[in-house]
């Protein structure tokens, strides 16, 4: 038969717990950071921020299920989604202003404070 250690490792793979969600959240967060710092298009940076906020939300909802058992994490995730929508609206408005002034959307070339 299978050894106990092997059964343990098999169980940790197939019984989904808090750690699985936390590791997924860490990976999405790191990819979001990577997207934010490698994109030079301003909208690419906004996409990276959305990924990071989603990673934080997975954490909140997973802790709400496995650790606290209450609805606090859900309410917090709701506020995070609201703030992400507000931030995207203002961000796009700023980028459109930036584009109509400089005719570029490359953040590395917008280095003047006053046109």
């Amino acid at each position: 038969m299978l050894s106990p250690e092997f059964q343990d490792s098999l169980r940790s793979i197939f019984e989904i717990g808090l750690t699985h969600y936390l590791i997924l959240s860490v990976l999405i967060f790191s990819l979001g950071i990577l997207c934010m710092v490698t994109k030079r298009n301003a909208i690419g940076i906004l996409i990276g921020i959305e990924l990071i906020l989603n990673a934080a939300n997975i954490n909140l909802v997973a802790f709400s299920k496995y650790q606290t058992g209450g609805l606090d994490g859900h309410v917090f995730a709701l506020f995070v989604i609201l703030l992400a929508a507000a931030e995207a609206a203002i961000g796009i408005a700023i980028f459109m202003n930036f584009y109509s002034t400089l005719r570029i959307i490359d953040v590395d070339r917008g280095d003047e404070l006053r046109w």
Partner: protein, 165 residues
């Protein structure tokens, strides 16, 4: 069954996130963001957070993503234009991201989560009613601040994107 669903949805989310980072074209990145957001929404359903999953689909996929695609359309003469960072920047960024991921994974694998886990896990499907009650009792102040914030955002976005005089 739960394990299968978890690995399927997290695989979709991770693959889409990876494609967002790797694709040079901003339109492709925006479309891959759809996959990432959808995968995360399915994970919310898996975590018994049905309302959060629905809100994720409505606000993120229906609102924010459309806004981003409009932004792409309005801010580039040709949507296929690509700016690539230098090789040094990419290497430094990848190093930072890998260090972050390894460091945080090490930390959270060492933690003893079972010690602080709740004895009464969340009910099978938490009611939207409970969520609404807690929004209007315990979280009334953040709720009202959020509504004022949305008004400010609406005025600010309309002011910022007005046509030049």
């Amino acid at each position: 069954m739960e394990a299968f669903a978890f690995y399927l949805f997290s695989g979709i989310a991770l693959l889409s996130a990876l494609c967002i980072v790797l694709s040079k074209n901003i339109v492709r990145s925006a479309v891959w963001l759809l996959g990432a957001l959808g995968g995360v929404a399915c994970l919310y359903f898996l975590l018994n957070a049905n309302f959060i999953g629905a809100i994720q689909l409505i606000v993120y996929v229906g609102g924010t993503l459309i806004l981003i695609i409009f932004g792409v359309m309005l801010t580039s003469k040709s949507p296929w234009v690509a700016f690539t960072p230098t090789r040094g920047q990419v290497i430094a960024a990848a190093l930072v991201a890998v260090l972050l991921a390894v460091g945080m994974c090490t930390l959270l694998l060492r933690a003893d989560w079972a010690a602080t886990a709740t004895d009464t896990p969340l009910a099978e499907s938490p009611m939207v009613e409970q969520l609404g009650t807690s929004l209007l009792t315990d979280y009334l102040v953040p709720f009202e601040v959020a509504s004022v914030l949305l008004l400010v955002v609406m005025i600010g976005a309309a002011y910022l994107s007005r046509p030049e005089k």
